[in-house]
Symmetry: C2
Subunit: 490 residues, 2 copies
């Protein structure tokens, strides 16, 4: 099976698509730009959801649900928001179909036209702030710390599975605060949670930073983001957290009585990650044999494959395999014992390699006689033979080791592919190689757009943890106080 995947060096983009489809993660649907997330892909998404949901709740957030549809007029209330979101979207204009007069199928019933069109939500700030208006009177009603797990629709013209689809799944946090400081603190707190999740669970090192004004969320005062580097040297924005100031409170007239007894507009944040994370996960670690999954997000952490000739042999092997499975489950390790007799071991090996199962055990009659078992790890493709009695402890340690190794490999790759450049020639050379480019920028949108036009590189972020450094803009030569990160991006 694995052979059907194009190699990364041959065609990276095709490799990604092959992987998503062949590893049973997702496929294109009959509806343009919308994907079907298949059970194996969805199981990974469920792991992502469960962990993030826990982290949100541990920091005081609660879930709620707001309508799928947003009245068209809501979008016009926040001037920059409408420019960013209300253009390419799915518009509901009618609420009824009727039988076609020619008897062939159904047609739209023109008498059932909505007075005001409804937009399928591309993001929910407007409907949520319209709702918050009814919930907030005084500082006692604040903060509101709400998250929503939902589907959203943005009518993208060029789509790619997980990375850019017309419909996608995500979570969107929408919080309301009494002060600017508290809202900014929340914005940063959620960015930290996203970074922690990306690094400790997905095994992907990320840069934390702020977006340039040009790349800000439509309606935000400030947009923070985490940026990851993929194996082809392109950047991927993996999550964003926005400080919205009082923009939406003003647009929807949400005022509160503060502790001094004065009316003020409420301060807001919003933050989100989506099924795009699946794309990052796939591209950051996988190889030409298929997926490589970090153990913490793998739906199956260990697969046991019996090697046998006759059914008699399977008997012994099956007993031992079930025993190991039981012990692993006791340790909270997920295991699949694959004793299908419709497929040969070699076929199964390739299948689980393709699907990125972190650890594979192969167990045959001879192993039982020798009291040994073969353990193969997916990340390095190494195989070792270990005493069968030690195998459970061995695996528990190995899973941690794999999780760390995957992160380390991605971290080393990023280190090797992050370069400081100081001249325009160096910039042009570096951008062709790919990777993160740390360069001085004069802070103007004009220069940013000129660089994008010439090189397709965008400012991924203004890093939070790099300090003041005097320099000259790599393009205009004007003075600059900090390096920013440029890259071509997904």
């Amino acid at each position: 099976m694995a052979k059907e995947i194009v190699s990364r060096s041959e065609n990276y983009s095709q490799w990604y698509n092959d992987l998503v489809v062949k590893a049973d993660l997702a496929e294109n649907s009959a509806v343009r730009g919308c994907m079907v997330i298949k059970p194996y892909g969805y199981a990974i998404w469920e792991k992502i959801q469960a962990q993030l949901d826990k982290m949100f709740k541990d920091t005081g957030h609660v879930n709620a649900y707001f309508p799928l549809f947003i009245p068209k007029s809501f979008f016009s209330k926040e001037a920059s928001h409408v420019e960013g979101f209300a253009k390419e979207c799915a518009v509901v204009t009618h609420y009824r179909l009727k039988n076609s007069p020619d008897g062939k199928g159904v047609i739209v019933d023109e008498t059932a036209k909505l007075e005001e069109e409804l937009i399928v939500r591309p993001t929910s700030e407007t409907i949520i702030w319209n709702t918050y208006k009814g919930w907030i009177q005084s500082y006692r009603d604040l903060p509101i710390l709400i998250n929503q797990w939902a589907n959203v629709v943005r009518w993208e013209m060029r789509t790619r599975l997980f990375l850019r689809t017309a419909e996608f799944l995500w979570q969107e946090g929408h919080t309301a605060h009494a002060t600017s400081e508290e809202a900014i603190e929340e914005t940063k707190k959620m960015l930290d949670i996203y970074a922690e999740f990306a690094e400790n669970y997905m095994g992907i090192p990320v840069l934390k930073g702020r977006k340039s004004p040009n790349e800000r969320f439509a309606g935000a005062i400030d947009t923070y983001c985490i940026e990851a580097l993929m194996q082809d040297g392109k950047a991927l924005q993996a999550g964003t957290s926005h400080f919205l100031g009082q923009n939406f409170a003003k647009a929807f007239d949400v005022k509160f009585l503060n502790q001094e007894g004065k009316l003020d507009f409420v301060w807001a944040t919003s933050w989100g990650v989506s099924t795009r994370l699946m794309g990052a996960l796939i591209m950051a670690h996988s190889d030409d044999n298929g997926l490589v999954l970090p153990p913490k997000l793998a739906p199956i952490q260990v697969v046991i494959i019996p090697i046998y000739k006759g059914k008699e042999q399977l008997g012994d092997v099956a007993v031992k395999a079930e025993e190991i499975k039981k012990e692993l489950l006791k340790r909270g390790i997920s295991v699949k014992y694959d004793d299908r007799d419709t497929h040969k071991p070699g076929f199964k090996f390739a299948e689980y390699e393709l699907k990125g199962v972190p650890v594979r055990l192969a167990l045959g009659q001879r192993d039982i006689e020798n009291n040994t078992i073969e353990v193969a790890r997916r990340d390095t493709l190494e195989k070792v033979t270990v005493p069968i009695n030690d195998v459970v402890n061995y695996i528990a340690t190995l899973l941690d080791e794999i999780q760390e190794n995957i992160y380390k490999k991605a971290f080393d790759f990023r280190q090797k592919n992050t370069i400081e450049v100081n001249t325009w020639d160096q910039f042009l050379e570096a951008i062709e190689k790919g990777g993160f480019i740390a360069a001085h920028w004069d802070g103007t949108t004009e220069t940013e757009e000129k660089i994008k036009e010439l090189t397709k590189a965008t400012i991924r972020c203004i890093p939070l943890d790099s300090g003041f450094e005097k320099g000259n803009c790599v393009y205009s030569g004007k003075s600059s106080d900090q390096r920013v990160i440029f890259a071509r991006a997904y």
Copy 2:
């Protein structure tokens, strides 16, 4: 707070609506027929989801995700399905807005008209079976046991929070099988799971049965359901499980090579429950003081309210309260310690009564001196004083007792309100009283519709567990082999 709720006897319908809104479960949104599910309501839904999801997975099902949009033409492929679903629905006709020429807001861009309209899914059989066509070639690919958690839209003209909304949340299982027998077995298995969930978790006794042909799901060969009785004597359909035969496989041309090497159409089931269950949960148990929640689905099982005068007193009480909270948490019992000093104890008592928290503890300085604590249970409103050292064990037992008592109360109510009638006069009298009416029916749609026209009563189900009994139809007098259940319904 609780005082603001109209009593059941005064206006049952208003009581329900007051309860949903005042207990912070949900509210109407700015979009006609769509609700906002508030954090407390959503927390109950999350508990429902988590338990059902576990039961589905324990029986071999996996989750996946299919597109929100369905091409219009898909609905016409299954003749009866289109009649049932493609009429009242949200239709997407355009994919872009543009600035209005008058500068006021945005308007639909008429140049961005879809070639084929998209329907916001009212249910997903069509898009899923169109997808399954690509997944199924041989009996080795079967069964497919997939569930989806999703939002769906049906353009209802008269809506009520949770019970009937234009958009609602649900799960829809869609399975594919090699034989009719296996599909029927699956249909019944899922009905059993729904019944088990309703009775053991929601505390609601349900009748399991089959729908009459008239009430079947559009596209099904047979529809099974669970029916619950609400306190006003009206029935509520709480879940359905459909045997779809080969109808959708034929509509979407999904064939497989069976074990004999012959091509055959695939057999299907679908089954679902929705946020409507929230309506059932609220109406089945609650009283004029507010919600009554079964402990197994209560987001907060125990609330601790400190009774104190000075801050000095709170010190002692707080230490003890935190100690009890910690012990309860250790036992897996969810607890909230409410030490807000902005509200008096009496206000808090009313608030948690309204919100249906199963157990309330009140703890003051005098209790600490006496080594006692006051325990109030929400279902019976009884209060007892127990030794403080026993309180954790006491509560663990009490929660089970409350769960059982809530079920028993609902069961007794249903017993008292289920009546066998044998004449039309008895039927007319009984239907005015409300409740389940067990009566003979001649099996014709004509009689069923006539009875509905005259009394607004429908056949809720043909019970699975009542056996053969010779009789005469309560309306037509024609012969009948079994009693069926009539009621007015939500």
